[in-house]
Symmetry: C2
């Protein structure tokens, strides 16, 4: 479990023994079943989650009450409503397990503590935050410039694992299109 996290961190920054001990002491392993909502819209996000296995999403509702998926992780990676977690203000999104998920979680207080103790972990936490920023920038650019079909083709190439493990309706709303439009696009693509 924890080794998975440490490998991910070390692919970005070098860790010494104290850094590793901090992670082992403050990241808590948890297991959630499929469809469990672990952070709720309107509540202050309690934890930052590292996904060891499973698939997880952020979603909210549009003006007609339809679910809109704004983030789908692929393990290994971090997920939370970053901005609301950092500010400790009520989130605008729900965090839901799409499948059974093995996670490692850390509270805001503990995260603040360990990044204050360890410069390497501080650098890493900034990196995680900035990755989330890139994610939204890239999503907005794709939505603004690509057709629905191109958005799907691009998603298919970059996240094949998500495609095979996440309901298509979630992927459709993440890609900013109707599930039936996604069906049509998928049919068109397989036929060539």
């Amino acid at each position: 479990m924890i080794q998975n996290l440490l490998n991910t961190i070390e692919s970005c920054v070098a860790l010494n023994k104290e850094d590793i001990a901090l992670c082992e002491a403050y990241f808590e392993p948890v297991l959630y079943p499929k469809n469990r909502i672990i952070e709720e819209e309107g509540q202050i996000p309690r934890y930052l989650y590292f996904v060891v296995s499973g698939f997880i999403r952020l979603f909210s509702y549009d003006k007609d009450g339809n679910e809109v998926t704004s983030h789908i992780n692929c393990p290994p990676g971090f997920i939370t409503s970053y901005r609301h977690f950092s500010d400790q203000v009520p989130a605008g999104e729900n965090l839901e397990c799409i499948s059974e998920c093995h996670l490692l979680r850390i509270s805001k207080k503990d995260l603040d503590y360990i990044i204050n103790e360890s410069p390497a972990l501080k650098d890493f936490s900034i990196w995680v935050f900035q990755q989330s920023m890139s994610y939204n920038e890239n999503r907005a650019k794709a939505l603004a410039t690509l057709t629905a079909e191109d958005r799907y083709l691009h998603f298919m190439k970059s996240h094949p694992d998500v495609l095979h493990n996440v309901p298509l309706q979630y992927i459709a709303s993440f890609l900013g299109m109707n599930p039936k439009s996604l069906s049509r696009i998928r049919k068109k693509i397989t036929g060539r």
Copy 2:
């Protein structure tokens, strides 16, 4: 000039005399003409800019070579390719003055220095960074869930000043639609 900046900061955090002195010492006023590109794609962003007056945008190019505007500020506010400025890596976007602009700029080195000297300014810089994150989240959500017409209506209400001072072609690409589609939508709206 600088008072405009200080007012903006103080609407978020309280400043003491030392904080104010730091801002006065390290933010440098600059004046750029209309259409000047002040940070270039592929280059490391040198400064964070505070817009005192004027309009400014971030833009890049899509696969067909068309300009895509990804951010249009309205004064007073900050602008830069935040992530690339923070990391000091080559930016993916150009920063261009849409009109003559009075700006206050600060280099990465100086920003790091003043936020290290002043907890209030550090809090504020984090807030600025997070505002930029919200901006992209909101843009992505609008692009994913609203029709072109609704995106324009929403933009019209929230940024009337931009609408009246920025070429419509820039607004169209920011809203993820063709300039002609925007023309049609504008015509439809005025006729009711």
